[in-house]
Amino acid sequence: MINVEKLTKSFGPKLAVDHITFTVAKGEVLGFLGPNGAGKSTSMRMITGYLPPSEGTVTIGGFDISENPLEAKRRIGYLPENAPIYSDMSVAGFLSFCAEMRGLYRAAKAEAIERVVEMCFLNRVMQQSVDTLSKGFRHRTCLAQALIHDPEVLILDEPTDGLDPNQKHEVRSLLRRLGTDKAIIFSTHILEEVEAACTRALIIDQGAIVAIGTPQELKARSPSAGNIVVTVNGAEKQSLVSQLESLATVSQCEFLSAGDNRVTLRLTPKGQILPELVALAGRSSWKVENIQIDEGRLDDVFRAITLPDTKTAA
């Protein structure tokens, strides 16, 4: 649905976006991650046809955004950063304007407005002036605008920015729901959002893609991924550590805490650790009470990938 190829943008000598290539298919939700100033918004502006790219192409549903902008733009719903909105209109007036701009009139318009108002919970504020809306409602009004023509492609620049936790949750579940039959790109700073709503995530730093994959794949890159935290009842700490360290599949055994006749350790594996661990427990007098496999943490990955670069830049 969305095809981005070698997309590049330079502002004077500064390279804001550097040859990024990716595709998003229908039914996919792509999380766009990156530190501030990494080129997220610039990329999105090029994908939606607001900024002309310096190099590279974007096609939306088969239509090139530069060569056939109107057809491509018809297929896109876009929520720009900070949710800009005409402050001199009411919510109803604004949505009616957006619907007409999308070629929806009369019954089709009324139907579309009703649908997005329900989706974005705008019932209470329909007659209110946009000027007097709270940030959450403003954001949702702008989101409603992006959904009004039921587009095949959704590009959302920080859709949960400035929302309270409940509203964030609503937007995330909305994204997940919409993601089943649309191609969605959204940018965010909140990593748990990526795990909650994305089928794939992309990390961009200094204009270039530095990682792309499912949230699970990205998490697996974390240094702590695959570690096992085990809590044992009825064992003495020293002998337990030496027993575990003698296992062939354990590369490192780190003591975490002890007390109440329990010992908690973190094991760094070098292979399939669980069968050996279970066998050892069977032979011993102690009982394994709890085993946790660390899936890795996205923010560890994010920091590991993007931090060294930002340090040198600063």
Binding site: K73, P80, I85, Y86
Partner: protein, 243 residues
């Protein structure tokens, strides 16, 4: 076409939902009436025509039209809604034209509200209605020309005050280029071709010529060229913002 109309409707609506529109119309009508009746001595002249009325229009428009046009693009740039507007299925040209037409229609409404003066002269005597119609056409075209300049300066900046001042300065230059007190001393020493060149780019030459009761194709062409040129430049400036 429908897209242009949607934009025009929104812009026109935006004018009338703010008190500024009503304030503007009242100021325009008051000033027009005051200059016509008090300064030009409309009644003392004892002639049933609207020459003293149209005489003041360039000077009124010099300040009032930039005030109407200054928000056209500066406001979009300030609010960031330009990003919203230009990512909708609309060409920049449609957006520019839609917005321009809205403010032109707004000025047209303000101008139309001066109709009591027409009724007054019709009641007082036997005016030449053809000439009055020409006066209105000329005034309408002049407003359009100044407005297109305001659209251009408004696209340059997100600051409406800057847009206003630039528009006033450019419009003033266009007035002075063809204004008798400027061109007469010039013709005393400059070669004729230079005087002709200067006066032909001035709006007054063309405005006066229409006021005399003839809508010449050259004058029409002049105003339309100014409008198209300014709107085209607006599109160039808007494109430059995005690269």
């Amino acid at each position: 076409m429908k897209t242009i109309w949607t934009i025009t409707k929104r812009e026109l609506w935006a004018y009338f939902t703010s008190p500024v529109a009503y304030v503007f119309i009242v100021i325009f009508l008051l000033l027009a009436a005051a200059f016509t009746l008090l300064v030009s001595g409309f009644f003392e002249r004892g002639v049933a025509d609207l020459i003293p009325f149209f005489f003041w229009h360039p000077w009124l428009y010099l300040f009032l039209v930039p005030a109407v046009g200054m928000r056209l693009w500066a406001e979009e740039l300030r609010l960031g809604t330009i990003e919203l507007l230009l990512t909708m299925p609309v060409t920049p040209w449609q957006a520019i034209l839609g917005k321009f037409l809205a403010s032109w229609m707004f000025l047209c409404i303000a101008l139309a509200l001066t109709f009591p003066l027409v009724i007054t002269v019709a009641y007082l005597g036997h005016p030449d209605f053809g000439r009055i119609a020409c006066g209105y056409i000329g005034s309408f075209l002049l407003a359009g020309a100044f407005l297109s300049i305001a659209s251009l300066t408004s696209a340059l900046t997100r600051n409406q005050v800057v847009a206003f001042i630039l528009a006033v300065v450019i419009s003033l230059l266009l007035i002075l280029c063809g204004w008798r007190p400027i061109t007469d001393p010039l013709s005393a020493w400059a070669p004729a071709w230079l005087v002709d060149a200067v006066t032909s780019v001035g709006v007054m030459t063309h405005f006066d010529s229409i006021q005399r009761g003839v809508v010449d194709s050259r004058d029409l062409l002049f105003f339309i060229s100014v409008i198209l040129f300014s709107l085209f430049t607006t599109s160039v400036i808007l494109r430059a913002h995005r690269t």
